[in-house]
């Protein structure tokens, strides 16, 4: 698939069918995430692959904005202690979060190629998520990604909006060439 087509097709899916996500596909999603850049090039980002339906159900139960009936989940988290030790406060609070976002987007793009749908989830119930998955206290839950095969009768994606682009100086509009 052309990369532009991948970009066009990427959107959040909150309605999955009953098919399980194959292990190889989950591994490819993690591979995609691992190809994202990392500020300071420090290995502070980690992934928890959840494909046991009981755990997915519990994650949904404590994440009110986890609307999708996902079959599997990837939880991206950051070792905050390691991040601060190696990259300081900026690394802990900003770089590592940007990293997680880049990794999540790589997952969303790879999902298009694999014929999967994904749904990003951010809740403030991290303590519950950590308890369910046994994640040590020093980690921050950056994002939870629900994964599955898109249901055929899901509602159309919510419309997007054009990017705000400035040319050289803030406030000077960029004239598009087409």
């Amino acid at each position: 698939m052309e990369f532009r087509e991948v970009l066009k097709k990427r959107s959040m899916c909150r309605n999955f069918d009953g098919r399980k996500v194959e292990r190889e596909k989950l591994e490819l999603l993690v591979y995609a995430a691992s190809r994202a850049p990392q500020g300071g090039n420090e290995p502070v980002r980690e992934y928890i692959l959840v494909d046991d339906a009981r755990y997915v159900k519990m994650l949904r139960a404590v994440s009110p904005s986890f609307l999708a009936n996902a079959k599997a989940t990837i939880v991206i988290c950051t070792d905050l202690k390691k991040a601060e030790e190696t990259m300081g406060k900026q690394g802990r609070d900003i770089l590592s979060l940007l990293d997680a976002g880049a990794a999540a987007e790589n997952i969303a793009l790879m999902a298009v190629e694999l014929g999967l749908g994904v749904s990003f989830v951010r809740s403030s119930t991290d303590e519950a998520v950590k308890s369910i998955l046994g994640i040590p206290a020093r980690y921050r839950i950056d994002i939870i990604i629900g994964i599955g095969y898109k249901s055929r009768n899901r509602p159309p994606p919510i419309k997007g909006f054009p990017p705000k682009v400035h040319h050289n100086m803030y406030g000077v509009g960029w004239e598009t060439s087409n």
């Binding site: 139960a61 404590v62 994440s63 009110p64 904005s65 009936n69 403030s124 119930t125 519950a128 919510i158």
Partner: protein, 99 residues
């Protein structure tokens, strides 16, 4: 097939929502409450002793209202007003006939 929904499922959803609402935009509050109602209806649907035809008939409408919040806030408000009206009328019917 989805599991049978229990009151415990609703309770943990509401507690998680309460925690989430502290940090989330205020507009998510009504959204979580509506979804809470949805889940109450799911419990009623999966337990014959709690069956409620009116609630059951409202489920689709509630789900549609929930989706509206992402699209248009004014329409969301209108949809909530409509929903409230239907519930108020149903309450009147139940209260008057059972008196």
């Amino acid at each position: 097939m989805e599991d049978k929904k229990t009151l415990f499922d609703v309770a943990i959803y509401l507690i998680s929502s309460a925690r989430d609402c502290l940090d989330e935009p205020a507009i998510y509050g009504p959204l979580r409450l509506l979804e809470g109602v949805n889940r109450v209806i799911e419990v009623s649907n999966s337990n014959p002793s709690l069956e409620d035809k009116f609630l059951n008939s409202m489920q689709k409408k509630i789900s549609e209202t929930v989706l509206e919040v992402m699209r248009d806030r004014n329409k969301f408000k209108d949809a909530l007003n409509d929903l409230l009206l239907e519930f108020a009328e149903e309450m009147k019917k139940r209260t008057i006939t059972s008196a």
